[in-house]
């Protein structure tokens, strides 16, 4: 099986969808003349022409609305928001409109649209280094996918474009270049299905997106130290598929939740709550959560590295859980 990058996997899915369905078109900031900020749609102008991929003004609400209106009228727009930081300028469009249209008009309209947006950081400081996964996962009417492997990136992108409802597709600049096995042929990964990546008996690590490669590293290191950790990749955070998580948790009775977000009131908070409410009888130790330290992202390299999670943070959390320590979330 070919080994390709996460970015190339996304490109394959987008190219396939564009080739198979002329209703699919891409709009976004710097997707054409700049040739795509992170290179995912590089070369698409030549391949598909200027009507199928279009540079948008820096007016996030504007082109989000353009996409939603077009989706309502039967097209299949893929809207690239450049980054999640800019996408919050379009929150009203996504939350008050895309997410609600089908319901509030009694099922008359649908909104088959994909919003692509990467999280990420890299000495970009406070406004360019954020994660808002929870904002979207909070909202009935949206689907939120967060692939952490090249295989899932391709399969979930295909599924997202084919989905009849609005899908928020959260990528990460830190993993565009990770590599993995990806079939050349067409396939989809179902939205709303978590995936057990590794079985284990000592602790269940739950993560998604950028944290998956870190968790995979952590699991290997832990194994070399004799700790047998299971790893569940959520892949979708709305709708949330807790069953693989609970199935593993019922065996390990311990959990670490690794999400790259501010810990309080995050997606990880929901996973922890579900483990308590649905898995209470199996709980043998305090659950630990791994995330950003709760500060605005600093610029200096050492400060930034100090406040973001990585494989070591996951390893440390696992050891704390196994030691039965309680976690205190620091906000100040």
């Amino acid at each position: 099986m070919p080994v390709i990058t996460y970015s190339e996997a996304l490109r394959q899915a987008l190219r396939e969808a564009m080739t198979n369905d002329p209703r699919v078109f891409i709009i976004g900031e710097d997707v054409v003349h700049y040739d795509s900020a992170y290179g995912v749609t590089k070369g698409f102008l030549k391949e598909f022409g200027p009507e199928r991929i279009k540079d948008m003004p820096i007016a996030e609400a504007g082109y989000a609305g353009l996409g939603i209106g077009a989706a309502m009228n039967g097209l299949r727009p893929v809207v690239e928001m450049m980054t999640t930081n800019f996408a919050i300028l379009a929150l009203d469009m996504i939350i008050n409109h895309a997410a609600k249209l089908h319901y509030m008009f009694g099922g008359q309209f649908t909104c088959p649209i994909v919003f692509r947006m990467p999280n990420g950081y890299g000495q970009l400081s406070a406004t360019h280094s954020q994660a808002f996964d929870n904002y979207y996962a909070y909202m009935p009417g949206l689907k939120v996918v967060v692939p952490g492997t090249p295989y899932d990136a391709k399969g979930l992108m295909k599924a997202a474009i084919e989905d009849p409802d609005p899908v928020i597709f959260i990528e990460h600049t830190g993993i565009y270049n990770i590599k993995g096995e990806v079939p050349e042929e067409s396939y989809t990964v179902p939205i709303g299905k978590s995936n057990l990546l590794r079985d284990g008996k000592d602790v269940t690590i739950v993560g998604y997106g950028r944290m998956i490669p870190y968790c995979q590293q952590a699991v290997e290191t832990l194994a070399s130290e004799g700790i047998d950790a299971a790893l569940v990749d959520l892949r979708t955070i709305r709708p949330l598929d807790m069953e693989p998580v609970l199935e593993s948790f019922r065996k390990t009775n311990r959990a670490v939740i690794a999400t790259e977000e501010w810990t309080s009131v995050g997606v990880g908070s929901e996973i922890a709550a579900r483990l308590y409410t649905e898995g209470f009888d199996h709980l043998d130790a305090p659950i630990w959560r791994v995330g950003f330290d709760e500060v605005p992202m600093p610029y200096a390299k050492n400060l930034e590295a100090h406040v973001v999670p990585n494989a070591d943070s996951v390893i440390q959390a696992v050891k704390n859980v196994l030691a039965g320590k309680t976690q205190k979330i620091r906000q100040q």
Binding site: A61, G65, Y103, F105, Q108
Partner: protein, 325 residues
Amino acid sequence: MEKQDLLADYRTMVLIRSFEEHCQQQYTRARIGGFLHLYVGQEAVAVGAIGALKAQDHLVTHYRDHGHALARGLEPKPLMAELFGRSTGTGKGKGGSMHFADKNKNFWGGYAIVGAHLLLAMGIAYSIKYKREVLGEADQDGVVMCFFGDGATNGGEFYEAVSMAALYKLPIVFLCENNEFAMGTPLSVHTSVTEIHKKASPFMPGERVNGNDVEEMRARALHAVNHARTEGPYFLEAMTYRLRGHSAADPQMYRTRDDINARRSGDPIALLKQKLIDQNLLTEKQAKQIDKEVEKEMDAVVQFAEESPAPDLSEAWTEIYSKPL
């Protein structure tokens, strides 16, 4: 304009007025909940402008949407049922007053976040052009008409919508109903450019029209729609006046009863009635007959809503997604 058209317009305006008065009554009786934004005083704008649209054209509007729905030919019964929160409503009782819609009539709905729907309207217009030019659907020649108030022209969405509509030369008519108030804030307090059409003038042609004169409204809307169909976006600013409060629960501290009474001379229904009488197209007797017929129709409309069942509780969990999870 043909005689029949003006009389038909008169009747539609009377229907809208009567529908709204019945809404007010039912709201007072607590049969209608939430916010109720009445269109009383602005009827000529909807009837004149929407009358310029063809069946293949599209309509997107704001939360004060009753008049637009009726002018587009939606049946009053499912509209009233929607207000009553009944399963026979246009949105099966899930949308309420601010979210009337009928996909079959290309009435894409009323939207309640001020200014936001201009962008959806722009997107629908974009899709029409895309279908024609990329998908090769030659019969795609529809125009989108998007209604909004003067209060919607200060936020960023307004400028994003007019700028992008001009950039892509979209088939869209932006129609501002300038009723001089953004909820309770007067025009001169909420905006620096009180001639609203001038705000769009760098982007597209436009004009200010008398929104209380259904004949002028129709004529200028026809011009605007033709322009949009053949050239690109057009802007209409319809001057009108809301004779009721912002919502049915508005104590109207921002104006006096005398202020309102002074504006009753501009009541579009009274103006049209007088015009029709002056032109011997209508008699007082015929006008009374129309009132009576509409009143009777409205009694049946309210009765339909009353007798319709409330949605089954299971309905709360349907249509969250178009394909159930």
